[in-house]
């Protein structure tokens, strides 16, 4: 299908708009929250966080494949996905900061230093900032190998961030995979899943776009090397 990618992107965008409409207008202010209006960030904050994990897991997968069989394809997947992980991670961290400030109050910096969920997620994000920055140099096999090793450290950081609110000191609520997920109000669940699907489709669209660009760039530089 010729315009499949564009169709997926548009659908994702539309779903996100629907989620925003649903969260902001259809559902009234949330009950039992200190900041009932800021709670509406939930519908995009949680999906962006989950997509961040997905993106960084793709980096881990791509990096492992590269180290295993030196596949440039896998290396490109890791590189493109790391960038998208930063984008979605930024969304999740920044929106979470706004929500946290409204709901919990207090000093943002000390929250990030003392709440393990926030601290480990920020550390994971910064790790992949380092990964992306490292990849901005000419791509020799040595650079790719070192980047893959750096990318693999997500194997530790992703579960650490994800499970930190379950096992370490944290105020961050835990919903996914717990009893609370089942007891979520149907309206909350609908908004959450709609946002999640929207972001998933958007991730697919952006990843596809970035991956195509990466291949084009690689072909161009390869041909230029051959000519010289």
């Amino acid at each position: 299908m010729k315009y499949f990618r564009e169709l997926v992107g548009s659908l994702g965008f539309l779903l996100i708009l629907c989620t925003i409409y649903f969260g902001l207008i259809h559902v009234g202010p949330a009950k039992f929250f200190t900041a009932p209006n800021a709670q509406k960030l939930f519908y995009l904050h949680v999906p962006s966080g989950l997509i961040t994990y997905l993106a960084f897991m793709m980096v881990v997968g791509g990096s492992s494949f590269y180290l295993y069989n030196k596949s440039n394809y896998a290396d490109s997947i890791a590189k493109c996905s790391a960038e998208l992980g930063l984008v979605f991670g930024f969304m999740s961290l920044a929106s979470g900061t706004f929500w946290m400030k409204a709901e919990w109050g207090g000093d943002v910096v000390s929250r990030f230093l003392t709440d393990m969920r926030l601290a480990t997620t920020l550390a994971m994000w910064l790790l992949y900032v380092a990964y992306v920055v490292y990849r901005r140099q000419p791509e020799t096999s040595n650079v790719k190998k070192n980047a893959a090793i750096l990318g693999l450290s997500g194997m530790l950081m992703i579960p650490l961030s994800y499970f930190s609110s379950r096992f370490l000191r944290s105020h961050h609520p835990v919903i996914v995979g717990t009893e609370d997920q089942g007891s979520l109000a149907p309206s909350l669940r609908l908004g959450l899943y709609m946002g999640l699907l929207g972001f998933l489709l958007l991730y697919y669209f952006l990843f596809n776009l970035r991956f195509r660009l990466e291949r084009l760039e690689k072909n161009y530089f390869q041909k230029r090397m051959e000519n010289t």
Binding site: N37, L44, F88, A94, A102, L206, L213, L216, E217
Partner: protein, 175 residues
């Protein structure tokens, strides 16, 4: 010492409700109205023309001269929302106040009429605006929501810029 402390606490608690403490100066309220009860008896009514939902709204009255009759001043928003101040016979230079709770209204309404009645006769209408302040956490909501569009927009710009540079290079190479 214990009794002295208890006594002082009671005095401190009573002080704010003492009649003399009602502010009936112009600077305390945004608006003022005068109700002529008789030729030499004027009741000054101090109020704010803006009713903020969620905050108590006060009216202070000041009877400038003494009165030889009982005076009932009724403040009525309509729909059973009314309150009365009773001024007893013989009162002189009398000050009193009443308040409407911040939950009296739930939505914005301009030019809301407050009927003031004197001993059961409608005497004057005060017009006020009922205002609803935006919730404090709305700032955080819009801040948080902008983050998503900022991030997606910036990344799309980054990709398109990268693609433009690459296309230009390919074109130059082909030429």
């Amino acid at each position: 010492m214990k009794y002295l402390l208890a006594f002082s606490s009671i005095i401190m608690l009573l002080l704010p409700v003492s009649a003399d403490s009602y502010c009936h100066q112009d600077e305390c309220f945004t608006d003022k109205a005068e109700l002529f009860v008789s030729n030499d008896q004027i009741v000054h009514i101090y109020y704010n023309s803006l009713f903020e939902i969620g905050e108590n709204w006060f009216i202070v009255i000041w009877l400038e001269n003494g009165t030889n009759n009982d005076i009932d001043l009724q403040f009525d928003f309509g729909g059973d929302i009314s309150k009365t101040i009773e001024i007893k016979n013989g009162s002189s230079n009398y000050t009193d106040s009443l308040s409407f709770s911040g939950s009296t209204f739930s939505s914005e309404k301009f030019d809301t009429e407050l009927n003031v009645s004197f001993n059961g006769n409608k005497s004057m209408i005060l017009e006020i605006d009922v205002n609803k302040k935006p919730a404090e956490d709305m700032f955080y909501l819009w801040g948080g929501m902008s983050v998503f569009w900022f991030a997606i927009g910036t990344y799309v710009l980054y990709i398109s810029n990268k693609l433009r540079v690459l296309s230009k290079r390919i074109e130059e190479k082909n030429e």
